[in-house]
């Protein structure tokens, strides 16, 4: 479990993370979503004790990260797959990391096999493809068999096969009861991966809850109606619902499609189209983050 309370981090005049409070539960894949520059990576660094917060706390399984003994055995993280010396072999990279927390060399071979890098373990990392580097980063995160896992943009630069592999891995890790906290700015990927969501914009919390709740809360964008009897429908709708007209179609909001259909029938308007507009997750997310930008932190918008 990861619990952040009123976490704040400033870099000079910029407030990267602003009074951020959220929880990532064990046994769940929690998506950490926000546009680029929203403060996701900063939050990850704060969780891992790499940066010090200006205010607030963040606990991992109830303990501040810096107080963990052999932290790799509790928290595994891949913040950036390029955090490795290119001249070192993949195996040596994992060997030194394992040695820091007294993790036996045997485990190095295990995680190499787990991510499918056994055959290139003795190859220097500079010859790795982006996907292989990503796998090495994930192997490093899994070294200590940790209960909490953090991944920052793990699917960046991966092919569809690699994405599917990571998705399955994250689900399997959560199913084993681990806390899986994974950031992304890619919504379609997140929709398939995360069960819970923490959405931030400009360093502030926008949404915390389940993925289903997020979609339900934000997916109604009105109903699109087309009719050859525009006058009748206009008269019927006026005073009943909000609507706009464009390109010979009505977009009605504040009324579901069942009632609109009935209203049109009663008014004698033939309908050629009656379709609810279910906004994509993408749209919902853009709407939410736009609001955050417009209203939450006006001083930061320039």
């Amino acid at each position: 479990m990861i619990e952040a309370t009123a976490l704040t981090k400033r870099y000079g005049a910029t407030t990267a993370v602003n009074e951020l409070t959220f929880t990532a539960r064990s046994g769940r894949v929690t998506g950490f979503l926000g546009p680029n520059g929203a403060g996701k990576s900063t939050t990850m660094r704060l969780i891992l004790g790499l940066d010090r917060p200006d205010a607030g706390t963040v606990l991992v399984d109830g303990v501040p990260y810096r107080e963990l003994k052999d932290p790799l055995r509790t928290v595994g993280a891949m913040l950036d797959a390029t955090w490795r010396h290119p001249g070192r072999t993949g195996r040596d990279h994992l060997r030194w990391l394992a040695a820091t927390n007294g993790i036996p060399d045997k485990r190095v071979e295990e995680v190499l096999a787990l991510v499918g890098l056994t055959s290139v373990g003795k190859t220097r990392v500079l010859q790795y493809s982006l996907g292989m580097q990503q796998r090495l980063g994930i192997a490093a995160a899994l070294l200590g068999d940790p209960r909490v896992l953090l991944f920052d943009e793990p699917v960046n630069g991966l092919d569809p096969e690699g994405m599917a592999w990571i998705r399955q891995l994250l689900h399997a890790l959560a199913a084993e009861g681990r806390t899986v906290f994974v950031s992304s700015h890619l919504l379609p990927e997140m929709a398939q991966t995360a069960q819970d969501l923490v959405v931030i914009g400009r360093g502030r919390l926008i949404y915390q809850g389940t993925m289903d709740g997020f979609v339900a809360q934000t997916s109604e964008h009105g109903v699109r109606v087309r009719t050859p009897h525009a006058e009748e429908l206009r008269a019927a709708l006026t005073g009943q619902a909000e609507f706009t007209e464009a390109d010979g179609a009505f977009v009605v909001s504040g009324m579901d499609s069942d009632r609109i259909g009935q209203l049109a029938f009663d008014a004698g308007a033939t309908l050629h189209e009656l379709s609810p507009i279910t906004g994509s997750l993408e749209q919902a997310y853009l709407d939410l983050t736009r609001e955050a930008v417009e209203f939450a932190t006006p001083e930061a918008v320039q």
């Binding site: 660094r45 891992l48 004790g49 790499l50 940066d51 010090r52 990260y65 810096r66 963990l68 932290p71 790799l72 993280a77 913040l79 950036d80 390029t82 955090w83 490795r84 010396h85 290119p86 001249g87 070192r88 072999t89 040596d92 060997r95 030194w96 990391l97 040695a99 820091t100 927390n101 007294g102 490093a140």
Partner: protein, 249 residues
Amino acid sequence: MNLLAVERIKLFSTRSPWWCALITLALTIGFAAILAGASPSDSPIAVSATQFGGSQFGIAVVMVLAALAVTTEYRFNTIRTTFQAVPHRTPALLAKAVVVGLMALVIGEIGAFGALGLAMLMRPNDGLGLHSTQDWLNVAGLGPVFAISAVLAVALGILIRHSAGAIALLLIYYLAVEELVQIIPKVGRHIHEWMPFNVANKFLRGSAVVDGPAPSDSPLSPGWALAYFAGIALVFLLVALGVAKKRDA
């Protein structure tokens, strides 16, 4: 102990430390060979002459090795992974200083005795050998001086974090600043007496004028000179550890 093993794996699993070590040995031993070969056979060379390569050039390359051992970690962000694994940071950085210092010590001893040995083989009639305490310090002392220089370079590497910056500063200081300080009227000479590498030279070569570069003008005894040099490195290391602990990684 784990962390010493970690730093050993890190150091020996990349190529640059090996190259730096080879270059240091080549300079230290090679310079002795050149001197031994080029000096006229009727004028014997002294033990101190066999050691110029190490004490003048080798030390610079050892410091480059030591600085790189830290700055490449910042360059490739493995320092962050290290701090993630060792959140208190100080033990990890201390382990690095120890391992790099030990490697420098070994390079220094191999280089110094290699240089003397080769010169003895090339000039069997010069009576070269470890005949006095001063001879011993001059040869066996190279290891400790390398080690302390390496710790100093590790500390500067932690503080500066960029390879080019750290190396430039170290080399400019080592090759120019200590000498140029003497130009300052009146006080320059007194400042120079306390400059760390000048003091280290006192430990290695004493103050007897034998040959080669001018001897050290440090007023300290060889023993205190080594302690002073080590003290300076320790102060820099402590400052670096304090800064690294506070700083956002």
